[in-house]
């Protein structure tokens, strides 16, 4: 009798273990609240500047790739651990953001998106990263 109860308990536990499915889907991040002064910021480097594919790319790979993925598709190795989806930089909607909006989202951040002001201190280097993010559009 005791053995039967033990066996039933084990089978029930096994069934629950295999079938129980807690919701683990990521949520898309909501709209950003960006100050008007930040939205209107303009890049200090021109499109096509040489630093975009050197400094910009290198800093993106070092600081951003692990969550956002090599092409900014939101498929970096750490992305799955986050509660918020890391978005897709290649979409037209994302690329329609102003320079200032991209700068604010990238360097000021919010919630799970860290502040990177102390990681990339030089302002021109930051704009090089934004310039590189612009090259990721489809």
């Amino acid at each position: 009798m005791k053995n039967s109860i033990k066996l039933i308990a084990i089978i029930c536990t096994a069934i629950i273990f295999v079938t129980a499915n807690m919701a683990m889907a990521q949520k898309a991040g909501g709209p950003w609240t960006i100050p008007a002064a930040s939205k209107s910021m303009k890049s200090t480097i021109k499109a096509g500047d040489a630093s975009i594919n050197t400094v910009g790319k290198e800093n993106f790979n070092k600081h951003c790739k692990s969550c956002h993925g090599a092409k900014g598709l939101g498929d970096g190795p750490k992305a799955a651990n986050l509660k918020t989806s890391t978005g897709d930089f290649s979409t037209a909607k994302f690329q329609a953001s102003t320079d200032g909006e991209l700068y604010y989202m990238s360097f000021i951040g919010r919630d799970e998106m860290p502040n990177f002001e102390k990681k990339i201190i030089d302002v021109a280097d930051r704009w090089a990263v934004i310039g590189y993010i612009r090259t990721l559009k489809k």
């Binding site: 050197t54 400094v55 790319k57 290198e58 790979n61 070092k62 600081h63 692990s66 860290p114 502040n115 102390k118 990681k119 201190i121 030089d122 021109a124 280097d125």
Partner: protein, 315 residues
Amino acid sequence: MKNIYITLRISALMILTLLLIKSTAIAQEEATQDTTVQEPTVERPVRPAFESGLLFDATTTTVQPSKTLEFILQHRFGYMDTEKYAKDFFGIWGASNIRVGLNYSFTDKLTVGIGTTKMKRLQDLQIKYKVLEQTRSNSMPVTVVVHEVIGVDARDASIWDQNEGSPAYKFSNRISYFTEVIVSRRFNDNLSLQAGGAFTHYNCVDSVYDHDRISLSFAGRYKFSPQGSVIVAGDFPLDITGIKDFKKDASATTIIYDKPNISIGVEISTSTHAFQIYLASAQGILPQEDVMWNNHDFFKGGIMIGFNLTRLWNF
């Protein structure tokens, strides 16, 4: 001997004071008919010469931005058995040394750190101050940093009371000092080099050994990929008769500690971490230990595997 030590310490303190006096920015103004004052040119500092403030056991000229906490783990496995390398699995099964430390940047130029090391139970306090910073315009071609490590040997007091006739134990016996000036240059995005001079002092040593030592250090890194570098460093104690205490009539079995510490390895850096894995010849970890107490020759099998790990938090 004591007079020379006092003179050297006073000289070092005077040099340190002079270097710490801030110089004002040089403003550019042109004498024109126009009455508007031109804004002084803002000098942009170069990107850091090294990925981390630590390279093997050496401090680099990289100072983290203010309000940054850095966790440091330095591990040294045992020396490899040069006759049967597999016997102790290349030193991995041998007697190891480890240091755990924390550094905090109070300002963009000043970092203070504490740490604890297994061998000799050394507790350390470290201060690093960036005196000059290399600029992108090359108006300042190098970065200069001053660095102080105060070590306290926390072993039992009986260590200093082993011979009849030796002076009574005092707390100051435990203390050692390492004072250095480091100069670095970031040549380009791939190559950075640094060189330094240091003065090491141990308050209390066995009668046949030196209290003081002057050393030169060199370090460099070459980036072979966006996150990977080859790293090399060496600390070379100098043989200066004027500050030597070593007695010529010491017995033939006395170990002579005068070998340089050479390290070579690879560094992988990410946004928050730096990992270094390497071969080194000194096991002391604290720089004064490496300079004063190394008798292993890197080129004659006196090597061990080591790894460092640093992690940054920005507040």
